[in-house]
């Protein structure tokens, strides 16, 4: 049997929720990055699947863009992260609170 569109979308949703939980629960900044990557890829799955089933390549093109943007984002983000670590000696979110209302 072949897989239906719904199965891909359910997979995409599950991965997205996993990423979301990661974003909420994790205190390590590096782990936060991983979680966002997971969420972005969850969206990619959704886009690619819909594109395939509708016979429209636009969705897959979008997925490529997202991959490229995610890569550059991680590059910049990791650079900042290293700088932050050098300055504070920690990348735990609870210990780098500097702005308080």
């Amino acid at each position: 049997m072949s897989l239906a569109l719904n199965d891909y979308l359910i997979l995409s949703t599950i991965i997205f929720v996993i990423g979301l939980i990661g974003v909420i629960r994790r205190k390590n900044l590096l782990m936060l990055f991983f979680s966002t990557e997971i969420m972005l890829n969850a969206v990619n799955i959704g886009l690619a699947a819909i594109s395939k089933f509708h016979g429209d390549l636009t969705g897959q093109m979008f997925a490529f863009f997202i991959v490229a943007i995610a890569a550059s984002e991680v590059a910049v983000g990791l650079g900042l992260l290293i700088l932050l670590y050098k300055r504070k000696g920690s990348i735990n979110l609870d210990s780098i609170v500097s702005m308080k209302g």
């Binding site: 974003v23 205190k27 979110l93 209302g101």
Partner: protein, 645 residues
């Protein structure tokens, strides 16, 4: 000729602005000299204009600037010099020039010398605007300007403390026997300003009515179209305009401020509260004569009120011992005469009396200023006496002015005042005539009562250690032209009539020559009777009212100014104060303030409560973001389903 118009108008403004530059500096003699000189320039320009108009009969009308042009509204800054305004301009500039010079002497020791001259010149400028404007809006600006300057000048010594209210008639600020003219200069200034504002509202309503129904405020347009309006409407316009005139000219029931305005420096009383500003009401009636001639019934009310005020004020002057208040009541009484003339349609007679009155009354005030200056600001005439020996020139000038005021031939008062009585008789208003006739006698009596108490008899001032001395020669020199005019102004009646009847209706009095001479004779008789009674009674007894009389009710009634100040205090001021306090404490604090404060407090509280949200912790912020996102998703799903379902 336009050049002279602008010079006459703007020279006082220039002087005022110049003196204002030094307002906070110690006395600079040149501010007084320069403002007086500029006033002199203005006076020469005005006389020039008068001469030009007299010889050529040409009316000078200029449109200086546009002021309000919106749609059909077109109100310019325009000025007109016709026989009426030219006469007024000459009266105002002559009196104010002399008063300016007199003030240099009178305000000699005052530390706000410069400020005084700035105000005084500003007043003259406003007055010129009032007189020369060619529309009701400009007149109203001048009207408010003189009100403002009057407020500034009455309250010139604003630092004086309030006098406590007292039941004792010799100490109460409301009595004319006490050493106080009012509660305090600040009180008097506010009283004058507020009363005028109330009356000005009436005038403003009148002006609105005119604009509404005619669509213009230019005098020529208004007067050309006034006949087309319905009779009732014209009555309303005339009545509302007259309410404004009542305020400015202190007619009953707006009369109280004028007597209290005597708190101001004496030259101010001479200029503003005798010669010029208070006659603005009469000027308004004369200027708007074409409105008032349409509705003779309003004119009759004006005349009756005028006659009432004439005797009402004159009676108060009988017992007063406050030198300035006696003259103030006299002014009020003479304003009543002017309104009688104006009300009965004899507009040029009113203008004529306005002019002669300005001369003799201002010089009377200036003389009173000299006397007060010489006796350490004493204002009780019973504490003076025998000053003739010490102040000969002042004494002679004041006596001349009093004779003129009494209306004795051939001084100016005779010509103008007698004419008013003649008009009243000729218009068959015999009651008004009788009232004015009695008032003429009272006027002569109280004028000479003042002269006798101040300049003759025993030297009571010695008890108080005063050393009276004649004032500076230049002050006397400034008063002399006014005194001369007080004598001769009446002799110009014929040329004045020839000039003024080109714009004002001619007199229509039909009395036979015999009646006329009888009238003149009996009027002169009562005036002379008043004078002689005053002189001989004083020579015989040294006083006028016996002690038994002092306890009578009628005496107290007059000395307490008919209890009008008490009435105002208890019936208007106090309840108003209580009402204001109630609205402040109950309505403003409890309702309005609590509502506004409540809103502010709510905002503060919300901010305070939501502070923990901004912990600065990225993890928590993300959590909140996810919660928000979820909520939005749920809501949008809910609505999506709701729309579909």
């Amino acid at each position: 000729m336009e050049k002279y118009l602008y010079i006459a108008l703007f020279a006082p403004l220039l002087g005022s602005l110049f003196a204002a530059l030094f307002a906070n500096r110690p006395k600079q003699l040149f501010t007084g000299v320069i403002t007086s000189a500029l006033l002199g320039v203005s006076m020469i320009a005005s006389l020039n204009l008068l001469f030009h108009i007299f010889t050529t009969q040409e009316v000078i009308h200029v449109r200086m600037l546009d002021w309000i042009i919106i749609g059909n509204v077109d109100i310019p800054f325009g000025f007109i010099v016709d026989p009426i305004s030219a006469t007024m301009m000459c009266v105002v500039t002559i009196v104010s020039t002399m008063v300016h010079i007199h003030s240099i002497g009178y305000m000699d020791h005052d530390k706000s010398f410069n400020r005084f001259f700035s105000y005084l010149s500003a007043f003259v400028f406003s007055m010129m605007i009032l007189i020369m404007s060619d529309n009701f809006a400009g007149l109203f600006i001048g009207w408010e300007g003189v009100g403002l300057c009057s407020w500034l000048l009455i309250g010139f010594w604003y630092h004086k403390e309030d006098v406590p209210r007292s039941k004792d008639i010799y100490n109460s600020p409301y009595s004319t026997l006490s050493p106080y003219s009012s509660v305090s200069p600040g009180y008097a200034a506010n009283e004058a300003f507020i009363m005028n504002r109330v009356a000005d509202l009436g005038m403003l309503v009148g002006i609105f009515f005119i604009y509404w129904n005619i669509g213009s405020l230019q005098y020529d347009v208004v007067f050309a179209n006034i006949g087309d309006l319905s009779h009732g409407l014209v009555i309303a316009i005339a009545a509302f305009l007259f309410i404004g005139a009542m305020g400015k000219s202190a007619q009953f029931p707006f009369n109280q401020w004028l007597a209290n305005a005597m708190e101001g420096p004496t030259p101010v009383s001479a200029l503003i509260h005798a010669a010029t500003m208070v006659t603005a009401g009469v000027y308004l009636v004369i200027r708007a004569n074409e409105i008032f001639t349409v509705v003779p019934e309003v004119g009759y009310v004006i005349a009756s009120l005028g006659a009432f005020v004439a005797i009402f004020a004159a009676s108060q002057a009988l017992v007063a011992t406050n030198i300035k208040k006696i003259i103030a009541f006299s002014t009020l009484s003479q304003l009543g005469y002017m309104f009688v003339a104006a009300g009965l349609g004899a507009y040029w007679v009113a203008l004529f009396h306005l002019a002669t009155h300005a001369f003799f009354k201002s010089v009377l005030f200036l003389g009173a200023g000299n006397v007060m200056h010489a006796t350490n600001n004493e204002i009780n005439i019973k504490n003076m006496g025998g000053l003739h020996k010490h102040m000969k020139s002042t004494s002679i000038i004041m006596t001349i002015a009093s004779v003129a005021l009494s209306g004795i031939f051939p001084l100016s008062g005779f010509f103008s005042k007698d004419l008013i009585l003649e008009v009243a008789f000729g218009a068959h208003a015999y009651i008004i005539w009788a009232v004015l006739w009695i008032t003429a006698g009272l006027t002569a009596f109280y004028s000479f009562r003042l002269i006798m108490y101040v300049f003759h008899g025993e030297e009571n001032f010695k008890k108080f250690g005063y050393h009276p001395h004649e004032t500076y020669p230049f002050v006397i020199a400034a008063m002399t032209p006014l005194a001369v005019l007080a004598i001769i102004a009446g002799w110009f009646k014929e040329p004045f009539v020839a000039m003024i009847t080109t714009v004002l209706p001619e007199l229509e009095v039909h009395v036979s020559d015999t009646t006329l001479y009888t009238l003149i004779a009996i009027t002169t008789a009562i005036a002379l009777g008043g004078i002689l009674f005053a002189v001989f009674k004083y020579k015989k007894d040294g006083t006028y009212f016996s002690h038994a009389l002092h306890n009578r009710f009628c005496y107290k009634l007059l000395a307490n100014q008919y209890y009008i100040p008490h009435f105002l205090e208890n019936v208007i001021n106090k309840p108003y104060l209580r009402m204001s306090q109630f609205s402040w404490k109950e309505i403003d604090l409890k309702v309005v303030d609590s509502m506004v404060d409540g809103i502010a407090k709510m905002v503060y509280k919300t901010g305070e409560e939501s502070r923990p949200l901004q912990s600065g912790n990225l993890s928590k912020a993300l959590t909140l973001m996810v919660i928000g996102l979820t909520l939005l998703l749920v809501v949008s799903m809910f609505f999506g389903l709701a729309i579909r379902g």
